[in-house]
């Protein structure tokens, strides 16, 4: 059984069907990619999988447990962590504080009211480690809102990592990045590959085809193909509907 499975997901907004009969499965210790053109329903799909929206129909299983319709915090607590395409940080907090908040040990003590968080050196060390891992060592005390765009992208992933996830979902991590920065980010994701089960949404084909173990293609709210990058390159349908347009 795969680590994460979605069966027959349907989602409508008003009269508009956004997702139709989506079936996905992500294996552990792999990097799975989801691609599709803008407006294909990728982000909506992520939002359904992580609890932001309830699906109208269908089932989401994580490690065998049915997590359909759970609230985002419930899903997060089970070990699914995500980043956002539109940057979603705690802008007034320092980079370090952004990570501290996301640490599971801090989360467990969320209702501790009389203990000082800034005096907790163990948590700070752990947060520093994560910060170093996403290439932001030395930026501990800079405000998240003051970081450069590329750094914010990294921090966005860092916050998701700090939650020590069993499954890491990255929503268009290269969105808005130039070629150099995209390459650096690819390096970062590659370095995470060995330690985490990762799912990445992208429309940057090259980025994903280089990194992913398996890829699913979503178009018009449906999964139109899935398989290894090699297999998909050969898929005529995919070539016609996507690659031609993007490349």
């Amino acid at each position: 059984m795969a680590l994460f499975e979605a069966h027959g997901i349907h989602k409508r907004f008003g009269h508009q069907v956004v997702l139709e009969q989506i079936n996905l499965s992500f294996e552990s210790n792999q990097l799975s990619g989801v691609i599709g053109p803008n407006g294909a329903g990728k982000t909506t799909c992520f939002n359904v999988l992580t609890g932001r929206f309830k699906p109208d129909r269908g089932q989401v299983l994580f490690d065998g447990e049915d997590i359909t319709g759970l609230a985002p915090n419930g899903i997060a607590r089970r070990g699914i962590s995500r980043s956002f395409q539109i940057m979603s940080l705690f802008d007034e907090y320092s980079a370090l504080e952004n990570l501290l908040i996301a640490l599971p040990e801090v989360r467990k003590r969320g209702f501790s009211m009389m203990r000082r968080l800034d005096a907790d050196s163990e948590a700070a060390d752990r947060a520093s480690c994560v910060l170093a891992r996403v290439g932001l060592a030395g930026s501990e005390h800079r405000r998240a809102g003051d970081l450069a765009y590329g750094e914010r992208r990294s921090l966005e992933i860092g916050v998701a990592l700090a939650a020590e996830p069993r499954l890491l979902l990255l929503d268009e991590p290269t969105s808005g990045l130039g070629a150099d920065a995209t390459a650096r980010l690819a390096e970062l994701v590659r370095s995470l590959k060995s330690d985490y089960s990762i799912v990445v949404i992208e429309h940057d084909m090259r980025f994903l085809f280089d990194l992913a173990d398996t890829i699913s293609v979503i178009h018009w709210g449906q999964v139109i193909a899935s398989g290894t990058p090699e297999a998909l390159r050969e898929n005529k349908w995919v070539r016609r509907s996507m690659l031609g347009r993007v490349e």
């Binding site: 992580t50 932001r52 609230a71 985002p72 915090n73 997060a76 607590r77 962590s81 995500r82 956002f84 979603s88 940080l89 705690f90 802008d91 007034e92 907090y93 504080e97 501290l100 908040i101 996301a102 599971p104 801090v106 989360r107 003590r109 969320g110 209702f111 501790s112 009211m113 009389m114 203990r115 000082r116 968080l117 800034d118 005096a119 405000r143 809102g145 003051d146 916050v159 700090a162 939650a163």
Partner: protein, 337 residues
């Protein structure tokens, strides 16, 4: 000795000592300064109210426009306890805190999934409900005329008993309550709980996706803040020796928001204290000079909102311009999108 210092240092900051020092000496200099002891009592009480309110407004980003309700509930609860049950200072205060906490907790159940102006709208509606009940239920509250002849019970510590009949005595009692509130709140805003509240203010969605039950945090912040408002209310009913529905009106609830904001509650822990002091002083100064003082104060307020929305504390921080206060300058880039 060092160990003791370390412990004290962890609970008390330098600003705190300075602040309390100014207030401790207040009864000595307030009269030569041209003011009167009772004003000091009210200022301290409203500071307690303001600090508690800022936990909600400044730290959690939840604008409550109906907080006067909890202040009033505290005042009535204290008064009723003294008059109907028996005269006891600390039990009365605890009763008031409990009553306002429970009221706050119930209201919070209706509010905690909301934010921004929807939150404000609901707090106004609930504030009005409580205000109306206070006026309507005259058998209990004395209605429009208020609950009168509330005693100031003596403070009984071990075998000694300290009367709080004089305004100076009540001032020191209220000040010790304020000191406790400040120390506790200072700790609280630096605790994981406080940090999460601030995270929720900055980005509620992300807080949810890193696994926090945002609803529960908002609920707790609201209830706590209501309890502190009730604490202040109980002291207020002692100061006035009566409890009136007016403090629960929309107008009065707006005033506490106004004070907290003018002082700079969004950018500084001390904002509410500054705002309360400025409001009461301005009111006393302008109030004896002109009958239309509210017009001038209103204009002043509008100008502050327009040109210095970070309030007095914000202006000060900008003036001092130290690195640690940099967050002020960029705080307001955060917009309504």
């Amino acid at each position: 000795m060092d160990a003791l210092q370390a412990i004290v240092g962890r609970w008390v900051s330098r600003e705190m000592l300075l602040f309390l020092l100014v207030l401790v000496t207040l009864p000595i200099w307030i009269e030569p300064f041209g003011l009167y002891q009772y004003l000091g009592v009210e200022i301290v009480i409203w500071m307690i109210y303001g600090f508690g309110f800022n936990l909600l407004l400044g730290y959690s980003g939840l604008p409550s426009f109906g907080h006067g309700a909890f202040f009033g509930i505290g005042a009535y609860a204290f008064g009723l306890f003294q008059v109907q049950i028996f005269e006891n200072l600390l039990l009365g205060i605890m009763g008031a805190v409990a009553a306002s906490f429970v009221a706050g907790a119930i209201v919070a159940c209706f509010l905690s999934h909301r934010r921004g102006i929807y939150f404000a709208l609901m707090t106004i509606a609930f504030g009005q409900v409580f205000w109306f009940i206070a006026i309507k239920w005259h058998a209990l509250t004395g209605g429009e005329d208020g609950l009168l002849n509330i005693p100031r019970p003596a403070l009984e510590v071990a075998v000694t008993s300290v009367g709080l009949g004089s305004n100076v005595a009540l001032f020191y009692f209220a000040l010790s309550v304020l000191a406790v509130v400040i120390v506790v709140l200072w700790r609280l805003v630096h605790s994981p709980f406080g940090k999460v509240l601030q995270a929720i203010r900055q980005n509620e969605t992300r807080a949810r996706f890193v696994g926090y039950n945002v609803w529960l945090f908002k609920w707790a912040a609201f209830s706590l803040s209501a309890a502190i408002a009730g604490l202040a209310g109980s002291l207020f009913s002692m100061a006035q020796q009566s409890a009136y529905p007016d403090v629960m009106s929309l107008h009065a609830s707006g005033i506490i928001v106004m004070m907290t904001l003018i002082g700079g509650g969004f950018v500084s822990f001390w904002g509410p204290a500054i705002g309360v002091a400025v409001y009461f002083l301005a009111r006393d100064v302008l109030g004896t000079m002109t009958e239309t003082w509210l017009l001038w104060f209103g204009l002043l307020f509008v100008l502050v909102v327009l040109f210095k929305p970070e309030g007095i504390a914000g202006a000060w921080q900008q003036y001092v311009g130290t690195g640690s206060h940099r967050r002020v300058a960029s705080l307001f880039r955060l917009g309504r999108k």
